[in-house]
């Protein structure tokens, strides 16, 4: 028995690796066959417990993933069998058990994660539940990690996740890729959910144990692989990559946020920028323009050297307005107008948005900045103070304080 300890450690490492890399894939394969989120999760958990003892005795199987899938599937079917009223369904599952009995090759497991993403991001679920469910099932974050990102307690988040899973079942949300006539709407919901994951990570900075920006990029890369040649998916990925390019440059030595045009370009990830630009070019060639491609193009213009391409950005915001006539887009248009030297017009445009954006922090920051530019310093200071009070994190607070005291470079 002297080899038991190293063997046990090897087994637990192997299981950790499969779960870290492939939990979402196994789960989606199980949901597709068992038809239930909860049943699939329970069955996978039981298979993991079996793996610990079985692999410990018999050694690692050739295909750990295939082994887990097969065992989990059998456990799931056993559960269904135990539910007496589901006899008919259990009979249907006999064929599945047989089909997968000889599965040895990991690559033979079909990747059903696109269906999983669309189910988790169904518009019939609350926005926050969509985010939580996607992070839990597709990205394999723990309930505790998700709770931390949303400043919730672990038990509150746990309840939200169970409710969401139950709702998928009771509402009859299908585990499938939407049909053509619903595709655009559903894709919108998926992309906005992933974008919210990204922005949550962006605002949180480094306070969380898992980088939500990276998880959002992972989700979009996965979608690009499973649903190639979809311009808005590529546009959304390019947008997030372009933001990620500047990650190391966006906060200076004093902990203050640095505006894009003042960042140290040596700190940018130029390879990633090239990759994002190529992706965006490919996407735009298809001429299926949408808001994510436009936002990515704006982000890229903002990073032009030696100065941002403000005139092109103004045109792009005009184009974005056709898709999203929202106060936030109007505010961004006004900010670009100010950069083009049209400060009085920009100020009018910003002030016209007061009712709609009175609780939106960037509105105060933009207004203060324009007031400062046209020399109305006293008013600017009052508005800066409001912006500082509403600042989402320390870096923007420090940046605004610098701006206010006029010491920013």
């Amino acid at each position: 028995m002297k080899h038991a300890a190293p063997k046990a450690i090897a087994v637990s490492k192997a299981i950790d690796k499969v779960i870290r890399e492939d939990r979402g894939r196994l789960l989606s394969a199980l949901i597709a066959r068992l038809g239930s989120f909860q049943l699939a999760e329970d069955a996978l958990q039981e298979a993991i417990v079996s793996a610990i003892s079985h692999w410990g005795r018999a050694g690692l199987p050739n295909s750990p993933k295939g082994w887990l899938l097969r065992v989990a599937l059998n456990k799931g079917i056993d559960h269904i069998r135990k539910g007496q009223r589901e006899e008919q369904k259990a009979q249907d599952f006999d064929s599945i058990r047989y089909d997968h009995a000889g599965e040895q090759d990991d690559e033979a497991i079909p990747d059903e994660r696109l269906r999983l993403i669309f189910a988790c991001c169904h518009p019939a679920l609350e926005e926050k539940s969509r985010i939580a469910l996607t992070l839990r099932t597709v990205c394999n974050l723990t309930t505790r990690e998700i709770a931390a990102a949303f400043l919730d307690t672990e038990s509150t988040m746990g309840q939200r996740l169970s409710r969401a899973k139950a709702k998928i079942q009771t509402k009859g949300i299908a585990f499938k890729i939407p049909e053509a006539d619903q595709w655009n709407d559903r894709l919108d919901t998926v992309l906005s959910t992933i974008y919210l994951i990204f922005t949550t990570g962006y605002v949180l900075e480094d306070n969380s144990s898992r980088d939500l920006c990276k998880e959002a990029i992972f989700l979009l890369e996965l979608m690009c692989k499973l649903k190639p040649e979809e311009s808005e998916i590529e546009g959304a990925l390019a947008l997030m990559q372009l933001t990620e390019v500047r990650k190391r440059a966006r906060i200076d030595g004093d902990g203050a946020l640095v505006p894009v045009e003042e960042q140290n370009r040596d700190l940018w990830n130029h390879d990633l920028r090239k990759q994002a630009q190529d992706l965006l070019t490919t996407a735009m060639k298809r001429r299926q323009i949408g808001p994510y491609q436009i936002k990515a193009a704006i982000a890229d213009c903002h990073m032009e050297e030696p100065i941002p391409d403000w005139p092109q950005m103004a045109l792009l915001y005009q184009e974005l307005w056709r898709f999203e006539p929202t106060p936030v887009v109007a505010l961004n248009k006004a900010v670009v107008l100010a950069e083009l030297g049209e400060c009085p017009a920009a100020l009018l445009a910003v002030e016209a948005l007061e009712d709609e954006l009175s609780s939106y922090q960037p509105w105060y920051a933009a207004r203060a900045d324009i007031l400062m530019k046209i020399g109305r310093k006293h008013e600017a200071i009052i508005v800066y103070k409001q912006a500082i009070e509403l600042a989402p994190n320390e870096a923007s607070r420090v940046f605004l304080e610098k701006q206010m005291s006029g010491t920013a470079q």
Binding site: R85, E87, G172, A174
Partner: protein, 119 residues
């Protein structure tokens, strides 16, 4: 799965009887009915008379209380329903989208209770 599509609307909104808009709405209902029938999903569907015709009843302390009017005063009233038998929520939502009142009211889509999941 069976879903009930509950049709809620504000009587103050929506087209007036006798106007071309009203005719258009009726034509919309007609084609929704036909589509649901043709697809073989329609189980049931009825329109309700206005809430002024409603009588509400409840039993409290063994005593039957009967009242004129609806159970709850709300801006949007239940005006009718369909029951459709479809594979999943997405399919039910597609039929809900065909109901003309979706444009000026709200369609609530709810699964019916399944008393015998074995079927």
């Amino acid at each position: 799965m069976k879903y009930m599509l509950l049709i809620y609307s504000d009587p103050a909104e929506g087209p007036e009887y006798g106007t071309p808009e009203f005719e258009k709405m009726m034509a919309g209902y007609f084609s929704a009915n036909e589509k649901m029938k043709a697809d073989g999903v329609l189980c049931d569907g009825e329109g309700l008379q206005g809430i002024e015709t409603a009588t509400s009843l409840r039993i409290r302390d063994g005593k039957v209380e009967t009242m004129d009017g609806p159970f709850a005063e709300t801006r949007e009233h239940l005006g009718g329903y369909y029951v459709v038998d479809v594979p999943d929520l997405d399919a039910a939502l597609k039929y809900a989208e065909l109901i003309p009142t979706a444009h000026d009211g709200t369609i609530e889509v709810r699964p019916l209770m399944d008393y015998n999941p074995a079927g």
